[in-house]
Structure formats: structure tokens, C-alpha cells
């Protein structure tokens, strides 16, 4: 653990305060007075990646609750001085539940949450909570393990490209999961990482994909939000993996699968909790098992045998028999970081700041 105060113990303490708050004015919510829910997005809803995934979640809430809710979103809000204003504006406008869907909104969300104790806030991928602020995230690394398996099996050059956004633990975790599982099949596989320092920048993402392919990479994976890298892979006759949403329409031949975020179930659950007056501060980190992420249908490039073995890994993760980070795991220097048979605990994953063997970042 990097952090001396365990965030989960902290949440237990603050949850009690959340309970008392929840029984406030929200119970008025009725058909005549819909629950207003606000969303703030870091990219455009048409990115076909991260933001698109969250917006599908928003639409799922609307479809589920109909007239009981009214949702609003603001897209393309830069992580910076503007975020607080937009979040506050949503709160002032009477939204009682506000989802802030990017890690850079953490401090602004916390500030606004303090100023609006009767509004419930939900921050994606962060770690700071408050009596009226929950955090939620998905175990993307579980999907990455399957992707690593596919990439390790299908790469001819043994070089797998990884277009990465910013080196926060969530991204590092994904790179490591890919490398570990690729090297189980292909022990000499190398995961080459290019950082673009942005979550959404189709131009840079595309350039990174080109550079990687020029360096001998034949499979492109990405932790950035646009389909640009996949499109490059398609053009160059390489393979790739979609991010956050099924991107098959952009790369019908190249896409092996995609890690598809499913925020709908969580958003529905939280909206229901507010409607019922049972909202509590929580720290949700679900994965394949709970259906918070899924893998898009395999592309034609994935042969039947490989589909079966990939499905077996997926099933193993879901039933708990497989943990993607099971030792022995060595770091880049070859030192054993996770002993044979040991599993990395959540706390260690959440602070991950080292790369496994086979990653060149």
C-alpha cells in the first residue's frame, strides 16, 4: 500500500453520514418532479470510446426510468479550471445526482460536493470520497488479460503496440495485464508503449499507431478513446483492439475484440438508490463478473481454437479461479515482485507504479 489511510476503511466511516443525508428532500421525487441527473464528459459524445460509453450509460438510465428522471450532459469539459464551474452549474440547476466521468474531475467534484451536501456525486476512476461523494471504476485489467492472450497468440513479430494516455495506476495496470498474458503464450513478446498525454486526440493517437507499426509492431492496443489507432491498423493490414466501445465499424477486419465499458448497470443502480432514498457513499470496483465490462464479439482474425481459450480465461476470471495478476510476476529489472502463486491485492493494484517484464515504456 502506498497510502497510509486505507480508503475502504475511510469510506465505512463516512457512509454513516451519507445515510442520514439520503433521507432528506429527495423522497419528494415523483413522476411530476423527475429526478434530475447530470453528467459531465471529458470528450465529445461522438468519440466512440470512453465518453460514448458513459453516454450509453446515461441513455440506459433514461430508458429504464423514463419520466422518473431527466438527464443532462455537458461534453468536452477540460480537466482544469472549467470543470468546477460546470459541475457547480449542474448542481445549481437542480441535478440531485451528478456523475463526473474522468479522473481529472476529482478535486473539482470534491469541492462542489462540499458546497452542495444535499446533492449526490459520483466520480469515475478517482479515490477521494465524501459523505455525498462516491467513486466507481471498472476492472479493465480483466479484459486486458484476455486481450493479452489474443495478442500473444496472434502476433507474428512478437511486438505489441500500446497507445497509452497518462501513466496513472489504472493505465499501468492495463499495460501490465496485457504483457503478462501475452508472455504466457509468447515468452519473448514485447509490449511497446507510446504515451500521448491525452485521453482523446485522434491525430496523436493515429500518429502513435503509425510509429509503432513502423517499429515492427503488428498488433495495436490502446488506452485512449478514439478509433484512430484501429483505423490505422486496418489501413496497414495489422490487427488491433477497440477501447471502451465496440469499434468494429471503424475496423471490420482489424478489430480482434474490444473492451466494452458497460456503465449502464451502475448508473441505473445509483439512480435507483437516490429514488429510493438509500444512496450511500461507496467505492465500486466491478469487472467482468458483474457485467461492468465485456468483450466485443471476436473478429474474423481470431480462429475458433483461440476463441475457446480466450473464453476459458474470461470464464475463469468470472468464476474467480483466475486472477490476472498471479505470481510469479517480475518487474522490468527481472526482480520478482509477486511470489509464485501469490495474487496482487486491490490496494497494490490501485497504486501500481512499476512495469512487468516485457514492457518497454
Amino acid at each position: 500500500m502506498i497510502r497510509p489511510i486505507d480508503r475502504r476503511t475511510f469510506i465505512v466511516g463516512s457512509a454513516a453520514a451519507g445515510l442520514t443525508l439520503a433521507s432528506g428532500p429527495l423522497q419528494r421525487a415523483s413522476a411530476a418532479d423527475p429526478l434530475k441527473i447530470g453528467f459531465i464528459y471529458v470528450g465529445p459524445v461522438g468519440d466512440f470510446g470512453w465518453t460514448h460509453g458513459h453516454d450509453l450509460g446515461r441513455k440506459a438510465v433514461e430508458a429504464k426510468f423514463g419520466d422518473l428522471v431527466k438527464t443532462t450532459y455537458v461534453e468536452n469539459v477540460a480537466e482544469g479550471p472549467d470543470a468546477e464551474r460546470v459541475i457547480r452549474k449542474l448542481a445549481v440547476d437542480g441535478n440531485k445526482l451528478i456523475f463526473t466521468s474522468s479522473f481529472g474531475y476529482m478535486e473539482p467534484t470534491l469541492k462542489v460536493a462540499k458546497a452542495f451536501p444535499k446533492v449526490f456525486f459520483e466520480h469515475a476512476t478517482g479515490f477521494k470520497t465524501a459523505p455525498n461523494l462516491s467513486v466507481y471504476n471498472s476492472r479493465f485489467y480483466e479484459g486486458r488479460a484476455v486481450v493479452g492472450h489474443l495478442a500473444g497468440s496472434l502476433t507474428k513479430t512478437g511486438k505489441i503496440g500500446y497507445i497509452a494516455s497518462v501513466p496513472i495506476p489504472e493505465v499501468v495496470m492495463g499495460i501490465n495485464a496485457t504483457a503478462i498474458w501475452a508472455r504466457k503464450i509468447r515468452p519473448d513478446a514485447e509490449v511497446k508503449v507510446v504515451w500521448i498525454n491525452s485521453w482523446y486526440d485522434p491525430g496523436k493517437e493515429g500518429d502513435a499507431a503509425k510509429a509503432l507499426i513502423d517499429q515492427g509492431v503488428d498488433i495495436i492496443t490502446q488506452h485512449t478513446d478514439s478509433p484512430a489507432p484501429l483505423q490505422i491498423a486496418e489501413q496497414r493490414g495489422m490487427l488491433g483492439v477497440g477501447q471502451a466501445s465496440d469499434m468494429k465499424s471503424f475496423a471490420p477486419k482489424a478489430q480482434l475484440t474490444a473492451i466494452v465499458d458497460e456503465w449502464g448497470p451502475y448508473y441505473i443502480e445509483r439512480a435507483q438508490a437516490v429514488l429510493d432514498g438509500t444512496w450511500k457513499t461507496s467505492d465500486t470496483w466491478h469487472g467482468l463478473k458483474e457485467g461492468y465490462l465485456s468483450l466485443a464479439p471476436y473478429g474474423d482474425a481470431v480462429p475458433a481454437e483461440l476463441r475457446a481459450s480466450a473464453d476459458a480465461i474470461k470464464a475463469g476470471i468470472i468464476d474467480g479461479s483466475i486472477h490476472p495478476f498471479t505470481g510469479p510476476i517480475k518487474d522490468q529489472k527481472g526482480e520478482v515482485k509477486v511470489a509464485d502463486g501469490a495474487k496482487l491485492a486491490d490496494g497494490e493494484l490501485l497504486g501500481m507504479n512499476w512495469y512487468v517484464e516485457g514492457v518497454s515504456a
Binding site: 502506498i2 497510502r3 497510509p4 447530470g38 465529445p44 443532462t72 450532459y73 455537458v74 461534453e75 468536452n76 477540460a78 480537466e79 482544469g80 479550471p81 472549467d82 468546477e84 464551474r85 460546470v86 457547480r88 452549474k89 449542474l90 445549481v92 440547476d93 479522473f103 481529472g104 476529482m106 478535486e107 478517482g126 479515490f127 497518462v166 501513466p167 496513472i168 495506476p169 499501468v172 498525454n197 490501485l350 497504486g351 501500481m352 507504479n353
Partner: protein
């Protein structure tokens, strides 16, 4: 039939000062049709865009928060543009200012003292000015075009900031997230309007505008700057030192942009993060021209530009209009300004062809 564009003999000064108003009016009219095409009630949309942000205390205060850095940067830029010195890299100077001011804040973390904020401001100005010194040096020594150097240095600055927040300035308790600690209270700008985010930086921006106005109109160096821009030959004949003026303008612009950067991290943000400015350094270029390169005009145009951002957000929230509307509005504003500027200076005449096919 052919069209010919020719310079007007006499340029009406009054028309020149009218152009920003014409541009705003034309933008509103074009916006009216734009909203109609987007399927929104144009009156309601224009109301959301231009009026609703001003209806609440919070909206007004946010206008100041957003306008403060725009005004401060545009004031500096305008000074340079008056002298034909084209600093396009205010965004980079802002970033360096934020880095230097922020580093001071972090060095005095959990300490209290009245001296911390002034120290941060000085560090921020020094950082911005030092960064602007690079294009100044290249321009005066090797005659390298400052448009290119200052613009390209912007990207270097952004990456430098990223290196710092991913490395030495990262919050040690922050789960490896690329951001610094939150600054202590002594490193946060005082709020000048209770229960809002409006900070002392807004006052400083207004004071800077007045100071630059005095500088331009009441001092010798201001006269030299104006001469250098409007009549370079005369300036040379009078023996004005072009090198010195280039340095002066770039350093002052850099210092103001750097101060704006420090105020952003010491004000609304409260920590160092990888993205400090949503393009203030570039938007300030529009602000400078919309304000006719006049310090007092810039205050008005800075507020107007800030309004366009907030109006865009309101239009998104209340009318479900796309965010791109904000960009389109700002683009139209600049377009109509340049167009009416052009028509004030030139006129279009119809010509009858003298020879077949001419």
C-alpha cells in the same frame, strides 16, 4: 464583370472603433439562424447564450474568473502587436508561470505567511518572462521569426509541466495520479466576492489593463512602441532601439501570461495538474484583436469572450445544443471582426471588362 478591391483613401476612425460592435451584432444575427437550423428556438437559445449567465451572482462571478486570465494575457499581447511583435506563445508562458508559481507554493507547503503569495506572483512572472526571453533572444540575435518559436515552445511547456506533475511535483499521497498536492491556504488567492470563486486576480487584471494603458499613452516607451508598429521607418529614423523594444514587449507579455498562469493554479485550480489552461493563451489573441489592441477595449472583449464560453455551457445544459456551438460562435466573432475591419480599410468595386476575357 470583375470585382476589384482597393484601399480606401480615408479610413474612418469612428468606423474602426465601431467594428467590434458590428461584429458582435453580425454574430448574433448569424447565431439566430444557426440556432434555427439546429432546431432550437433562436430567441431562447440567444437568451441562454448571452443573458442567462449574467442573471445570477454566481454567473457574474464566474465571468470574472474566466475573463481574468484572458484580459491579463491579451493586455500583454496587445502591447507587442502594437509594435508588430507577434508573440503567439502566451499559452506556453502561462504554463511556465503556473509551474514556477506552483513550485513556490509547494515549497512552502503547510507553511503560513503573507509573503508566500507575492513570492509566487514574482516567480510566476519571472517564469513567464524567462520563457518569452527565448523567442526574444532568437529574434534579436538571429532574426528568427518569433511567431514560430513562441508557438512551438508552447508544446514544450505543456510537456515540461507533464514531466513535473508525473515526477518531482507529484502528490506523494496521490495514488500516482499526475497532480501535485493541493496548495495550502496561504498559497491560495483571496476570494473577493463571498461564496464565489472570484479571486483577487481579477482586480490585478483590471489594474494591469490600466497600467498598460498609461504606459502606452503617457510614456516615451509607449510612444516608441506605437511608432515602431505604425511607422517602422520613422521609428528607425528617430533612432528607437528595436532590439530593446522587442525584448521589452516580449518580456512584459511573458510576465503577464506567467502571472495569469500562477493565478489560475493559485485560484480556481488550487494545485498543479497536467492541464492548466483550456487554451487561454490562444483565446487571448482573439480577445486582443476584438478589443482593438486597446487596454480598455480588451477588458470588454475579455468579458465577452468569457461570456461565450459560459453561454455555450448553458446552451448545452438547458437546450442540449452541442458544445461545438461555442467554437462556432467564437469563430464567427473573429470572422465578422476581420471582415468588417477589411471593409473599413478597403472597398470592393465592380469593374466592367475593357477587353474580352480580361
Amino acid at each position: 464583370m470583375a470585382l476589384k478591391i482597393e484601399a480606401r483613401r480615408q479610413i474612418s476612425t469612428r468606423m474602426l472603433y465601431m467594428t467590434p460592435f458590428i461584429a458582435v451584432f453580425a454574430t448574433v444575427v448569424a447565431g439566430f439562424f444557426l440556432f434555427m437550423l439546429l432546431g432550437a428556438d433562436p430567441f431562447e437559445a440567444l437568451y441562454e447564450f448571452f443573458i442567462s449567465p449574467l442573471e445570477t451572482k454566481y454567473g457574474l462571478s464566474e465571468l470574472g474568473v474566466k475573463a481574468a486570465p484572458l484580459i491579463m494575457i491579451a493586455i500583454g499581447l496587445a502591447l507587442g502587436y502594437r509594435a508588430n511583435i507577434w508573440n503567439i506563445g502566451a499559452e506556453g508562458q502561462l504554463t511556465l508561470g503556473a509551474v514556477c508559481g506552483g513550485a513556490v507554493a509547494l515549497a512552502f507547503w503547510e507553511e503560513t505567511g503573507f509573503y508566500i503569495l507575492p513570492l509566487m506572483a514574482i516567480a510566476g512572472m519571472a517564469g513567464g518572462a524567462a520563457y518569452a526571453a527565448i523567442p526574444a533572444f532568437l529574434k534579436t540575435k538571429f532574426n528568427v521569426n518569433e511567431i514560430l518559436t513562441s508557438l512551438m515552445l508552447t508544446y514544450v511547456a505543456t510537456l515540461f509541466l507533464a514531466v513535473l506533475v508525473f515526477g518531482p511535483l507529484k502528490d506523494p499521497m496521490g495514488f500516482n495520479f499526475p497532480q501535485s498536492r493541493m496548495f495550502s491556504d496561504s498559497a491560495i488567492l483571496p476570494i473577493i466576492w463571498e461564496e464565489t470563486r472570484l479571486h483577487a486576480g481579477f482586480i490585478v487584471a483590471l489594474l494591469a489593463a490600466v497600467a498598460v494603458w498609461v504606459l502606452l499613452t503617457r510614456t516615451i516607451i509607449g510612444f516608441q512602441i506605437r511608432t515602431l508598429g505604425s511607422a517602422p521607418a520613422a521609428a528607425r529614423y528617430a533612432g528607437f532601439d528595436r532590439t530593446k523594444l522587442t525584448w521589452f514587449c516580449l518580456m512584459l507579455t511573458g510576465a503577464l501570461a506567467g502571472l495569469a498562469g500562477t493565478f489560475e493554479v493559485a485560484g480556481p485550480i488550487g494545485q498543479l495538474v497536467p492541464n492548466i489552461s483550456p487554451g487561454y493563451g490562444f483565446t487571448a489573441i482573439i480577445v486582443a484583436f476584438l478589443g482593438r489592441l486597446h487596454p480598455l477595449g480588451i477588458i470588454a472583449s475579455g468579458l465577452l469572450m468569457a461570456l461565450s464560453y459560459m453561454g455555450g455551457e448553458n446552451a448545452q445544459i438547458n437546450l442540449n445544443l452541442p458544445q461545438a456551438v461555442t467554437g462556432v460562435f467564437q469563430g464567427m466573432l473573429l470572422f465578422f471582426l476581420l471582415a468588417s475591419d477589411f471593409l473599413v480599410r478597403y472597398r470592393v468595386r465592380r469593374l466592367k471588362p475593357l477587353v474580352e476575357g480580361a
